[in-house]
Subunit: 249 residues, 2 copies
Amino acid sequence: MNKNKFENKLSTNGPSYQPLYKQVEEYVTQLIVEQRWKPGEMLPSEFQLADEFNVSQGTVRKALNSLTTAKILERKQGVGTFVSEHTSQSALYKFFPIVADGKTPELPMSETIDRSIALATGDISENLKLSPDEEVIVLSRKRKIHGKLCILEDIYLPKKYFEGLMEEDEIPHTLYHFYQTNYHHTVQDISDRIKAVISTSEDANKLNISEGEPLLLFTRLAKSLDGKLIEYRITRCLSDDYHYLVDLM
Amino acid sequence: MNKNKFENKLSTNGPSYQPLYKQVEEYVTQLIVEQRWKPGEMLPSEFQLADEFNVSQGTVRKALNSLTTAKILERKQGVGTFVSEHTSQSALYKFFPIVADGKTPELPMSETIDRSIALATGDISENLKLSPDEEVIVLSRKRKIHGKLCILEDIYLPKKYFEGLMEEDEIPHTLYHFYQTNYHHTVQDISDRIKAVISTSEDANKLNISEGEPLLLFTRLAKSLDGKLIEYRITRCLSDDYHYLVDLM
DNA sequence: TAGTGGTCTAGACCACATT
DNA sequence: ATGTGGTCTAGACCACTAC
């Protein structure tokens, strides 16, 4: 009667067998999505979880370590295991790949210059997989690095996932942490598609450059822990003194 | 007398203690660099390695799995553990992040249009950490995706690491595999720095576009398994129908 | 059938942080 | 002193592949 909370051990040759540690991994992720433990909170110890799930401590450990690699958890020896908050330096830099040439990376400050509601038009509805009659919240921001204005962003959020955002007094500049704490959306998967473009006259005005200068343009699509498409973002960035940094492998 | 090939177990409180599995990891990497096992070759089984190193099979497993994650090894259940070759699809795509808009990724074909020797000038010597009097091999290539010319590349290789390359009959288009098999340099770490630029007249000519169109420019620095700076590369890419794809996290 | 890697368990001990 | 995660070991069994 050593029944697990999950499918029973090996030899469970169903069509879609998952090893125990994978099942534990997915279950813990689900519990985080359901807010059993909130960002920053500590999980029970490995042995307590092992008891609850009726698996061995080693199996729990393998699952927790895997979630730590995926930056969903953080573990501290002698202290405990915690749900990641999108505030730690390590987590933040993953999202801000723009670096001033020859300088050390710095988190850009940002200022929201517009907030509105719109219908999801072609580009936006396609990427966020919304029907064209659904509403999106549009945030326009400008960002500075080392005090110099260099980035413009338009951010599109499905209104259904961010009810109440239009009524917020202020939008903080650490958006992903804001999504996580105020709307329970933990950003998990991000892909950027980068192009080179000529600045529009509008953007050139805002950035105080002459029309026709090249800009880095990247479109970003972000998914939450539970797989929902949370954010579509179009960023234009000066590129004479800045670059987008990618580390492969 | 259970002495390891390595520092003895725990409680080895030297100033720079490394856990056993880390030491095994580094030692196996070193053996690969020294060509005890060549790319594509099979390693001994976990138990054989455990015997040789005087550690447990579980410790060897942890090391080998870690090297598998780092794409240095490949493991196949029921078969064995192999040194990665830079030919498998999975490995190749990591290096070619340029994708045609709305299409599935395709490996670009490339053609070497020039091969010469030069002195490492400022930019190049700085990035490859060479003194200015050292020689580099310069390769110029053009690449096509879906049959359309869209990429120009200048590649700089320290001559000292690639003796004999100038005498090769032909340079294949899968360069990293070529480095690995012919010069024993396994590329391991790559970083790309991406900018938007206006095409020079020279590049515009080669790419059959009009001068002044924007291009994606990225500079790449590649390190080998043993940490040597192997390659510096400057790539210019059409960006109206193509983009550089980055998956974060 | 034999050999390989994959999973799971159980237990010992270490290192770290807090009380 | 206690409790946490980190390391290491040993052994059992499973699944896959090749012969």
